[in-house]
């Protein structure tokens, strides 16, 4: 608990003033602490006040000081870039830090009320035991170690793909830099894949850029879009709940976060009226020009209907918004009545006026889907209708980081160019792919149904992606206690859960939620057996938690507004 408190405070503290050079500073021996004030994230990043005291001549600052003094350091909490301090990232936040601590403790033989830490906090499939797709690994291994191309233990179709990729690499080695946009032949394969996925809607490979995982692409595009000051500062519309990469990026870039709320009562659907509301309210204080959509949803797991996507695109067209479609879960669709529709295809079907005008960036990744290859850091984005001059700026921006890892690019190539019927690896590939996806579908169903049997927990169907985001009832007494501890109530809930059971999940407050409601996000990735155990433990904990806090307070059936009434015990 102490550890947490320390962290949470340091997240909220931030130095108000940047370091000001003071000619008299040479005499000061104590580190400066004076300028520090408490800020809250909602206030936005601290800004330099600037210019209150300027040093007159450079010479005044370069006097050498006597030996033996304790020198003041240059990079301190006061001089640290204030945007760094403002960034928060729940998926790897204090709960996860605590989980790692507990795990190490267990390894060192420390006694805990549980035998292992179950991590359901992050969409990391292999960490939870999912097996890699053989064909993908074969091709990347062959590219890495081309001597193996002579080995009889690799199938011909894997060798053929590896040869083709190597042929396109400088010096025929994965060890050469590729072009910043990625290896040409992989970009072409992606374009072909996108065309097939979208039933023939054309895709120009020049609009395809390989990235270091999808997050790198999202960051680059956001970086491009942020400009202006005061009321003309770029506003970025993001869903609430959202994946915290977005809020972290927005705060790093000092953009304005514009929240639109997903409708929990309707399976977390996106309601265009809500987009209108958010947009028009935001116009008073910023210039909203980016609309981020996550489909299938993270953390909410909903799959958008075609109609809904059309409405969103129409709205973006009318309001001239740049659309960022995070479609990394496009292969993870579980409900039989849902289907993935890409934003690009729907845009095309809406007619040329839309298709030729709406600026759209779509992101994909090797980390999700049925491959779950997070460690390879592969991904791509397709950007359409971008002004050519801006495109040149984008390429320039990408080139600062040289290139995405080439082994990740090779892995991406296998996802877009898998074995075809008739090829030697097809049957095994198909079997593995189907097995991964059907297991995930079962676990999605299982998670949803068990969660809904627990009193005080209500979970929408997990239609896609890899997460359940149930709403939890937290008794007012517990809410009060959390307030006293200075942390969000669901954070306290998750922390207690971790300490009691070893289950690591992320509180809803890390993703954003409607005021007064509480949630958590758990992945559906643990093995079925472990997932059942997790849910069982969770149920027991939850009931105990409710009992403890309702017993503490006066027995009452009053439920505060906004709580999960139907399941109030």
């Amino acid at each position: 608990m102490h550890r947490f408190q320390r962290l949470s405070t340091s997240f909220l503290l931030s130095g108000r003033f940047g370091r000001q050079r003071d000619p008299m500073e040479g005499a000061a021996l104590e580190p400066r602490r004076g300028g520090q004030t408490v800020r809250f994230k909602a206030q936005g990043p601290a800004r330099q006040c600037g210019g209150s005291k300027r040093y007159s001549t450079a010479e005044a600052t370069v006097e050498s000081r006597g030996n033996g003094e304790v020198r003041e350091r240059t990079l301190t909490m006061e001089t640290l870039n204030p945007n760094v301090k403002a960034v928060e990232y729940a998926v790897r936040g204090p709960i996860v830090i605590k989980a790692v601590e507990l795990e190490r403790g267990l390894q060192d033989g420390m006694k805990q009320p549980f035998a292992e830490v179950i991590k359901a906090n992050i969409g990391d499939a292999h960490a939870m035991g999912q097996q890699p797709i053989t064909f993908l690994r074969q091709v990347v291994a062959l590219c890495t170690c081309p001597e193996l191309l002579d080995s009889p233990s690799f199938p011909e179709d894997a060798k053929q793909r590896a040869r083709r990729i190597l042929q396109a690499c400088g010096g025929k080695s994965l060890g050469s830099y590729s072009a910043s946009q990625g290896v040409d032949c992989i970009r072409k394969d992606i374009a072909t894949y996108v065309e097939q996925r979208d039933q023939g809607v054309s895709c120009n490979w020049d609009n395809v850029y390989l990235t270091t995982g999808a997050s790198d692409g999202i960051m680059s595009i956001l970086k491009l879009l942020v400009s202006g000051q005061g009321p003309s500062r770029t506003g970025v519309m993001i869903p609430i709940p959202q994946y915290p990469l977005y809020s972290a990026a927005i705060s790093e870039l000092e953009a304005v976060q514009v929240n639109y709320y997903l409708d929990e009562d309707h399976c977390w659907a996106l309601d265009v009226n809500e987009l209108h509301r958010a947009f028009h309210e935001a116009k008073h204080y910023c210039n909203p020009k980016v609309l981020c959509i996550i489909n299938p949803g993270n953390p909410t797991g909903q799959v958008q209907s075609r109609k809904c996507i059309e409405d969103v695109l129409h709205f973006a067209f009318e309001e001239k918004l740049f659309v960022m479609a995070d479609e990394v879960y496009q292969d993870n669709i579980y409900s039989s009545d849902c289907q993935f529709h890409s934003f690009k295809k729907v845009l095309y079907e809406m007619g040329p006026e839309y298709f030729k005008n709406v600026e759209l960036a779509s992101f994909h990744s090797t980390s999700k889907g049925y491959t779950g290859e997070c460690g390879f850091r592969g991904g791509y984005m397709e950007v359409i209708n971008m002004d050519p001059e801006v495109k040149a700026q984008l390429i320039k921006l990408l080139s600062v980081r040289l290139c995405p890892p080439v082994s990740g690019q090779a892995a991406m190539d296998i996802i877009v160019n898998p074995p075809q019927p008739g090829e030697p690896s097809f049957l095994q590939f198909h079997k593995e792919k189907t097995s991964v996806l059907s297991t995930l579908a079962e676990k999605a169903k299982l998670t949803e149904s068990i969660l809904n049997t627990i009193p005080g927990i209500k979970c929408n169907p997990v239609q896609g992606a890899m997460y359940a985001f149930p709403r939890i009832f937290i008794p007012p007494q517990a809410v009060g206690e959390a307030k006293m501890l200075g942390m969000p109530p669901d954070m306290m809930y998750c922390l207690r859960l971790l300490e009691d059971t070893g289950i690591c999940i992320v509180p809803g407050s890390g993703f954003g939620q409607r005021e007064g409601t509480f949630h958590f996000r758990m992945t559906i990735l643990p093995t079925t057996e472990k997932l059942k155990l997790l849910l069982e433990k969770l149920a027991a904990f939850h009931i105990k938690f409710l009992q403890k806090y309702t017993a503490l307070g006066e027995p009452s059936d009053k439920s505060p507004s906004g709580q999960a009434k139907a399941h109030h015990p």
């Binding site: 960034v87 690994r137 997050s215 801006v390």
Partner: protein, 515 residues
């Protein structure tokens, strides 16, 4: 070819012409209506990014790619093969990867190989060891944002060994997707403020071009200091002082960037210089960013690489306790040459624990670096040891690369000495030669008419006529009125000979044409 638009702030402006060019290009492609629509959202892109100056070298690189494609399609050229030695990319230059590295990575990616009798036992052992460190035993899992703890401690052990026992700690090491990413990361901790409070970053001229682009992207104030060509590109502290003091009038200098061994000049800093630089940084309260990615490639006999960290600690207090230092290394350079795997690390020295905590928190908002790269890094800092089955082969491969590079360095100096119009300072370390071009006045005049820097005109013509791609000194920064070229020497002997032959032929022709 168009115009040089490198940093207008330092090297004169050509930016407007470059923008005008792309603008014409655009209006050809879009109708008015489309333009109205499209321009609506992105009319104002991030102004900081617009400041990243388009380096015309990029155009040269694009042209090189285009030529490669044309050659493939059978377009007739005066040469059959294009040679690109404009960047420090060993494998592209014909160097082979280290077998042990590739075997271990392949085995980690495809663990079936662990049953393959053809793989040496130490390869399998290492693969096992590393896979055990990955969640779920798979290289497909995320690692901790700042790297696999096991790899971090192997890096820390390596640093301690390298620095003759100066202690290092895994907690101060962050593994990143290449040293460039680590550089950006450290810079972004430090770069903020506006007006006179804006962070100034002192960096050497010449410097490889993506560093200046990184400063542009982050919105840092550039504080260039010039290396002294006449003294073998030595860093002179008086010049450093001049630059930093002068910049104090319009920004707050907080960072001092040094590259040792140098890219592009090949200068290797002596212990004495490093001491002076550290004292200077202490006086001025600058954070030192020491780019030491070429630490394994010192070719001059009798000179050893000494790290900033070591010198800092051997200076003792108060320096060793107060001067903040970030030291960078990478698998892309040295003898690995694994640029495509994207891995490197930074060691942070004397950082406040609270700042370190913030830095780690911030780092974790991104994801980890690619695991294959982290494996390569582990092998770089902990290679096979005497007695291991792979040791002989590993050390032979490394020796071969070292010998080839040393030989290439000698060879390039020999050849350039014989050609009129070249002077080349001694190349003590690193991957590159950075000879000075003495171009005829008429050539300089011609370049001016074309709106080009003369060395870029030279490189462009060389590319078109001989199929050799080099980097022009104007993209790296140079004193007004001087011209240089940079060529990568970490190539196979065959590649280098081809480059030198074509370069000589072209150079003599060029001199004659403009005589």
């Amino acid at each position: 070819m168009s115009t040089v638009a490198y940093c207008s702030f330092i090297w004169g402006s050509g930016y407007i012409t470059a923008r005008a060019r792309t603008r014409t290009h655009r209006s050809l492609q879009k109708t008015e209506e489309q333009k109205r629509r499209i321009m609506s959202v992105l009319r104002k892109i991030n102004p900081t990014l617009q400041r990243i100056c388009i380096c015309e070298q990029e155009n040269l690189g694009r042209r090189a790619m285009q030529i490669t494609r044309e050659l493939k399609q059978g377009v007739k050229k005066p040469y059959k093969e294009l040679v690109d030695v404009s960047i420090g990319d060993a494998h592209r230059g014909g160097m082979k990867p280290i077998t042990f590295v590739r075997q271990v990575i392949a085995a980690c990616i495809y663990p079936e190989l662990l049953h393959d009798s053809a793989l040496p036992a130490d390869v399998k052992e290492r693969a096992w060891r590393l896979m055990r460190e990955c969640d779920g035993g798979s290289v497909g899992s995320y690692t901790e944002a700042c790297g696999i703890p096991y790899v971090k401690s192997s890096v820390s052990d390596f640093i301690t060994r390298r620095d003759g026992g100066v202690p290092a700690s895994p907690e101060n090491i962050l593994i990143s997707s290449g040293s460039q990413t680590a550089l950006m990361f450290v810079l972004s901790l430090l770069v903020h403020g506006e007006g006179s409070a804006q962070t100034g970053v002192a960096f050497p001229v010449p410097t490889y071009s993506s560093f200046a682009m990184a400063l542009d992207e982050l919105g840092a104030e550039m504080v260039p200091y010039y290396l002294c060509e006449e003294e073998g590109w030595a860093l002179r502290v008086e010049e450093l002082r001049r630059a930093v003091r002068a910049s104090g009038l319009h920004c707050t200098p907080r960072v001092l960037y040094v590259i040792n061994p140098s890219n592009p000049t090949g200068n290797v800093q002596s212990r004495k210089i490093i001491e002076e630089v550290i004292r200077f940084a202490a006086e001025e309260k600058l954070v030192i960013m020491a780019d030491e990615v070429y630490q394994d490639t010192v070719h001059e006999e009798g000179i050893d690489f000494v790290s900033y960290k070591r010198v800092l600690f051997e200076l003792g207090p108060p320096y060793s306790e107060s001067v903040q230092l970030a030291s960078f290394h990478s698998v892309s350079k040295g003898f690995m040459g694994e640029c495509g795997l994207r891995s490197g690390y930074v060691e942070l020295v004397n950082l406040d624990p609270a700042v370190m905590e913030q830095a780690c928190k911030w780092l974790s908002a991104g994801s980890c670096s690619a695991v294959t790269g982290q494996i390569a890094l582990n092998i770089m800092v902990d290679p096979p040891r005497p007695g291991d089955p792979s040791y002989t082969m590993y050390s032979q491969e490394v020796k071969f690369k070292k010998d080839t590079l040393t030989c290439n360095v000698r060879r390039v100096q020999e050849v350039l000495e014989d050609i009129p119009g070249f002077t080349c300072q001694a190349v003590g370390g690193g991957f590159y030669a950075f000879p000075r071009l003495h171009l005829p006045q008429r050539a300089v005049q011609r370049a001016k008419e074309l709106g080009l820097e003369a060395d870029l005109l030279y490189c462009t013509r060389l590319l078109e006529e001989e199929g050799v791609c080099l980097e022009a000194g104007s993209s790296l920064g140079q004193k007004e009125g001087t011209h240089h070229i940079r060529l990568c020497l970490m190539t196979s002997t065959k590649t280098l000979e081809m480059v030198l032959k074509r370069l000589k032929r072209f150079h003599l022709r060029f001199l004659k044409e403009f005589a």
